[in-house]
């Protein structure tokens, strides 16, 4: 067996040995090698010391109210206003995979707009070359304004109590 410390690709064998994560066959081979390789034996000893030191590091016990606090947070998150939920969703990053696509779409749209800055020019051309078209556009705008005014008037009728009573009287 070649010395595992000689190559970056095999040196983790010694880490795996200390962590008891090597197959039995590899363990035997490595132990045979370490019997004659002082560097590997020293590495094994030092690594074993680190391993056992880390074993001694016992974590602090988890508090008994951990679950209760977590469920309170879950409930609070569930009853949060919609804008906070949107912010949370952004923070969670589930949109991140779509970000490049969105950026590409924005870039294409920006490129398209830059490439076709002639909307106003076209409108001007229409007004010069075909006055009828301008008249048609103006007529449709006037219709829209009239419809909006009608809608507002209708809303006033609904909101006004007299109008509502009148409406009931007519029924």
């Amino acid at each position: 067996m070649n010395c595992p410390l000689q190559s970056e690709e095999t040196r983790d064998l010694l880490l795996d040995y200390t962590a008891n994560r090597l197959h039995e066959a590899s363990v035997k081979q490595l132990e045979l090698h370490m019997a004659s390789c002082a560097a590997c034996a020293a590495f094994r000893n030092d690594q074993a010391a680190v391993w056992s030191a880390l074993d001694a590091w016992e974590p602090a016990p988890v508090s008994s109210h951990f679950n209760r606090n977590l469920w309170a947070k879950i409930d609070a998150a569930a009853s949060a206003p919609w804008h906070e939920k949107v912010l949370q969703a952004l923070r969670l990053g589930s949109w991140k995979p779509a970000a490049p696509l969105a950026l590409a779409a924005l870039a294409i749209a920006a490129g398209f707009l830059l490439d076709h800055p002639a909307r106003q020019t076209v409108a001007a051309n229409i007004s010069v070359e075909s006055p009828n078209a301008v008249v048609a556009v103006s007529a449709s705008e006037a219709d829209q304004v009239e419809e909006t005014l009608d809608d507002i008037q209708l809303l006033y009728q609904f909101e006004s109590p007299g109008a509502a009573a009148g409406a009931r009287g007519q029924m």
Partner: protein
């Protein structure tokens, strides 16, 4: 794609991923089961990463809150523990980064004055001197881990305490398997330099001398 076919993709079957798929379908009991199983490992991981008990449970709760919030979009593309520890690592590294910004630099070992670290429960079978020696050793271990760079520390904790394979750690940290091996090798190299003097099953080199040093350290601390 149906949940069943996604679960079938996992080789071997991951019962935790299956539970998470049930959480996705609205089963809160499955979430409770996952919480019971993974609460302690996550809290301990976060605690060892931050070495700040005052914040570690809050961060661990944030991890589970994110798991719960992400249930709707969960896809079992990796083992559940890999996904869970990816979130835990993300949350913890973000907190460490924010703290670094706040303080200007990280001093994870600055709780040696006992500001945040509660005294460990005394073992009645140990003498006072033994307990003090143990405390000195624990401080040494915590300081050695704290001085590792964040990613190396996360890799060591997942390798040592969660017994994760290199491939799992790689997925969790978002790097290649060879990068993980390299991270771990460098991390353990640093730890060997700092901790190899401690007694182990294999070798207790210069043990008496080290014990003497620890005693002197205790005496020095007592006279201050």
């Amino acid at each position: 794609m149906t949940p069943g076919t996604l679960a079938d993709r996992l080789q071997p079957a991951d019962p935790d991923a299956e539970l998470m798929l049930q959480v996705r379908d609205g089963d809160e009991d499955s979430f409770r089961a996952l919480l019971e199983k993974h609460r302690n490992p996550v809290v301990h991981f976060v605690d060892r990463m931050t070495q700040n008990p005052a914040i570690s449970e809050e961060l661990a709760q944030e991890v589970f809150l994110r798991v719960y919030r992400s249930r709707g979009t969960y896809e079992p593309t990796a083992r559940f523990t890999t996904w869970l520890f990816r979130i835990a690592t993300h949350v913890t590294l973000n907190w460490l980064r924010d703290r670094k910004k706040e303080r200007g630099h990280v001093r994870l070992d600055d709780d040696g004055d006992g500001e945040n670290r509660p005294r460990e429960v005394a073992d009645r079978t140990m003498s006072t001197e033994q307990q003090m020696l143990r405390e000195v050793r624990m401080q040494e271990i915590r300081a050695a881990i704290a001085l590792l760079p964040d990613k190396q520390r996360a890799a060591v904790l997942m390798h040592k305490y969660e017994e994760m394979e290199y491939s799992q750690i790689a997925l969790t940290l978002g790097c290649s398997e060879s990068a993980v091996k390299s991270l771990l090798f460098r991390a353990y190299e640093t730890l060997r330099a700092r901790l190899a003097h401690m007694e182990s099953g294999h070798a207790g080199r210069d043990h008496a001398a080290r014990e003497q040093m620890a005693r002197e350290k205790i005496m020095k601390g007592a006279t201050l």
